[in-house]
């Protein structure tokens, strides 16, 4: 128990909460050692400004104890000398337990400090990134506006989206973890229902972010550059294909009742039809844009005659992304209506896991493709 000095240093770095926590725990140790409650409570109730001195006092108390135990006796129990063996065993056991508890407490504290420090580092990193992004956005938007104009807004709009998407991914991981825990610990339907709703709302949040980004730069969104490469492989109008989603989900949420099977089948079909309609609309857009661009005489280096028509067509893309996202959203919502809460929770978890695996695959791909052949 002579590491008390290092404990003192560590807790001094940590700020206000730790000392109280530690004092509380140590106070309990003291109680179980039979030292009067009065002295223990003095330590616990110690005020924060003098926390250091309290810890010092606590340390010395512990030091005294260890001295006592090394001598094999403890004050209060000395009056039981006549029945020395029995209470001595008990006392020894208690002491050993205390040592164990204190050791564990120190280990926990170390782990906690480590976690705090890494979170702190992360926070500093994030803040720096935020500053950088802000500076970039501001710099380009402000100083370069005269030259870049609208482009500056695009870049800052995209930078904002990328940052928000990064945060969205982290939130998403949290949602997935919560869902997994909830399902494994058999939470009630009401609590699961809340998690399911949060999960679906989180996707709605993403669609909202995408809508704003689409207005800034729809091509960026359509390119899927903000997604991992494996996810990008499945890209359809700036996101995942709702029908493929249902394909992935179906085996994960079985068993389904007959009515559910029918509903899911119908949903799949409707989804496919809606997707096809949107895809055909996109083809028509491509076709008309191509015609507009190619209009006039291409062989002579002339200006494109209907520049503003072409620009209008491009703006039509924004609506396509909006409609595609709308389709994704209503498909998710309809699915949650068809399924029971428990099934919906499993479904959302499966969905989140699926995309997470795609992202992991992408990372693996990136690292493996860097190795020489």
């Amino acid at each position: 128990m002579n590491s008390s000095s290092t404990q003192f240093v560590a807790s001094g770095r940590m700020g206000m909460y730790e000392p109280i926590h530690q004092i509380g725990m140590w106070g309990e140790n003291f109680k179980s050692n039979g030292i009067s409650n009065a002295s223990a409570s003095i330590f616990i109730a110690g005020n924060l400004n003098s926390s250091q001195s309290i810890l010092m006092a606590a340390d010395t108390k512990l030091d005294n104890q260890s001295e006592d135990t090394s001598q094999g006796t403890l004050g209060p129990s000395s009056k039981y000398d006549l029945e020395a063996s029995k209470p001595m065993d008990k006392v020894q056991r208690r002491l050993a337990q205390n040592r164990e508890a204190a050791r564990k407490s120190r280990l926990r504290k170390k782990a906690y400090v480590k976690q705090l420090e890494s979170s702190c580092l992360k926070l500093i990193q994030l803040e720096q990134e935020l500053e950088r992004a802000r500076h970039q956005g501001l710099y380009i938007g402000g100083a370069e506006t005269s030259q870049m104009g609208f482009a500056g807004q695009i870049i800052s709009g995209i930078a904002t989206f990328e940052m928000e998407y990064g945060r969205w991914l982290e939130e998403q991981n949290k949602h997935i973890r919560n869902l997994r825990n909830a399902i494994n610990t058999h939470l009630s339907d009401i609590e699961l229902g809340v998690l399911v709703e949060n999960g679906i709302n989180h996707y709605s949040e993403l669609f909202r972010m995408k809508a704003i980004a689409a207005k800034a730069d729809v091509f960026y969104l359509m390119s899927g550059m903000w997604k991992s490469s494996a996810e990008r492989f499945f890209l359809w109008i700036g996101g995942f294909r709702p029908s493929e989603l249902l394909q992935v989900l179906k085996p994960q949420i079985e068993p389904l009742t007959d009515q559910q099977l029918l509903d899911v089948c119908n949903l799949k079909q409707s989804c496919q039809q809606a997707e096809d309609a949107l895809s055909q609309g996109m083809e028509k857009l491509q076709q008309t844009l191509a015609e507009t661009v190619a209009a006039g005489r291409l062989c002579e280096a002339s200006h494109m005659p209907q520049m503003d028509t072409a620009m209008e067509k491009l703006e039509g893309l924004v609506r396509f992304v909006q409609q595609a996202d709308h389709l994704r959203q209503i498909t998710l919502q309809q699915m949650s209506l068809i399924l029971t809460i428990r099934q919906a929770a499993r479904g959302l978890l499966a969905l989140g896991e699926y995309f997470e695996r795609l992202r992991a695959l992408s990372s693996l791909w990136v690292t493996s493709s860097r190795e020489p052949a």
């Binding site: 509903d263 119908n266 949903l267 409707s270 989804c271 039809q273 809606a274 096809d276 309609a277 949107l278 055909q280 609309g281 996109m282 028509k284 857009l285 008309t288 039509g316 609506r319 396509f320 409609q323 709308h326 389709l327 209503i330 498909t331 309809q334």
Partner: protein, 148 residues
């Protein structure tokens, strides 16, 4: 119930082949010369279209969203009448349509806009939403746009 063809010059809207049979029989698909449609034929033309067709889609000429609605309805087995609106008469037609609906179309509604059974149904979003929820097909059947 065929209506007598009126003596005034009747310029049809651009419609898909194999039309809704209550639409007045006319040969070929003449492209509507925009500004004559509403103005020359009086304000009732648009209203007439709405009432005579179980499903009619009003869309801007060359709009790809209109194409999406059309394809979706076609895929369901519906033969929607499609009225392609010229840029110049956009406002006029929209005005007309809002009159039909008792002035209930706000600034929010944009082309393409769908009328089912003589009543305003909504835009592409509503079509998609009701399709996914399974409500669209029964509504279309009720309006006589779909037979099993």
């Amino acid at each position: 119930m065929q209506e007598a063809i009126p003596f005034r010059t009747y310029i049809p809207a651009t419609a898909t082949a194999g039309d809704n049979r209550r639409f007045p029989q006319l040969g070929g698909t003449a492209t509507g010369v925009g500004n004559l449609l509403v103005l020359a034929n009086g304000e009732n033309y648009v209203q007439k279209l709405v009432l005579e067709n179980s499903v009619i889609v009003f869309g801007k000429r060359g709009c790809c969203m209109c194409h999406v609605v059309k394809k979706l309805l076609l895929g369901l087995g519906v033969n929607p009448t499609v009225f392609e609106v010229d840029e110049k008469e956009e406002a006029a037609v929209m005005n007309e349509l809002s009159n039909i609906n008792g002035g209930k179309i706000g600034g929010e509604v944009q082309f393409p806009v769908v009328f089912v059974g003589g009543k305003l149904f909504g835009g592409l979003e509503r079509v998609m939403a009701t399709h996914i929820s399974g409500e669209l097909v029964p509504i279309l059947k009720d309006a006589g746009a779909l037979w099993l």
